[in-house]
């Protein structure tokens, strides 16, 4: 039941932020909402209730590293689109291993 609730809350919050990104102009401003703390707001709220404040603070600590990985992910996506004529969907998917490598690499080197 907890996971169904998480699924619905996460889906709704991500959808709301994505819709905000759709209606805002210009595109460079709307793009900010592509990195909105949607999953974080959904997860942290539920985590605080289920596991407590310190557990949520620990998650937020490593989220700093995840956000840095997201920056590199966006840079690689831009590079693929502009320098390799990739479609947005393929570039966004091809760059996911970059996010995983940066985030997990930093976890192994710094956080673990």
């Amino acid at each position: 039941v907890q996971f169904v609730f998480r699924f619905v809350v996460g889906g709704l919050i991500v959808s709301v932020f994505a819709a905000l990104g759709d209606v805002l102009k210009p595109k460079s401003f709307a793009g900010l909402f592509g990195a909105a703390p949607s999953v974080a707001l959904a997860t942290l709220g539920l985590t605080i209730v289920a596991n407590g404040k310190l557990y949520a603070a620990q998650e937020a600590h490593s989220m700093i590293v995840g956000a840095a990985a997201l920056f590199f992910y966006c840079r690689v996506t831009i590079w693929l689109i502009m320098n390799h004529n990739s479609r947005a969907a393929s570039a966004a998917m091809l760059a996911i291993p970059v996010w995983l490598a940066c985030a997990i690499g930093a976890w192994l080197l710094i956080l673990r």
């Binding site: 709704l12 210009p26 590293v65 956000a67 831009i78």
Partner: protein
């Protein structure tokens, strides 16, 4: 450049695009919870910044721009890709602001009211995002 709201953009999206966003967002939230449960909050926390919104949004931006040009009789344009790159540039600025959000929660959550902490952290994300966006002509991460 002024920021404006255009609600007609909501009607341009297809229902399955909204469904994909909902399913993807829900799935990532569940996966983050499962990873934290299995490997601890330090590992699970990384996934709070997983690119959950950007892939679907960039795809949508590209398609809308391409279709707009096709309706105007301009085929094979690179405009759609350029629009997606501009969207990604915005997301790159947003991701720097996301570090501010995470830092605020990390520092404030143990000592403050949780609701207030999340609200202030979100306000900090919004403020940092807008500040970066205003300063973007002076920043060097433009799409090339």
């Amino acid at each position: 450049m002024t920021v404006r709201v255009d609600f007609s953009a909501l009607a341009k999206a297809r229902w399955h695009e909204y469904a994909v966003r909902f399913l993807f967002g829900g799935a990532i939230t569940v996966i983050t919870g499962l990873l934290a449960k299995e490997y601890g909050p330090i590992f699970g926390g990384l996934f709070l910044a997983f690119p959950a919104i950007f892939p679907a949004s960039a795809t949508l931006v590209e398609r809308h721009e391409r279709e707009k040009k096709e309706r105007a009789g301009i085929a094979n344009t690179i405009r759609g890709r350029q629009a997606a790159a501009v969207d990604a540039r915005g997301a790159a600025m947003g991701s720097l602001a996301l570090m501010v959000f995470a830092f605020a929660v990390f520092k404030l959550e143990p000592i403050w009211n949780s609701g207030l902490t999340l609200f202030l952290a979100f306000a900090a994300w919004l403020a940092a995002s807008i500040l970066l966006w205003i300063c973007r002509p002076h920043l060097r991460f433009k799409p090339r």
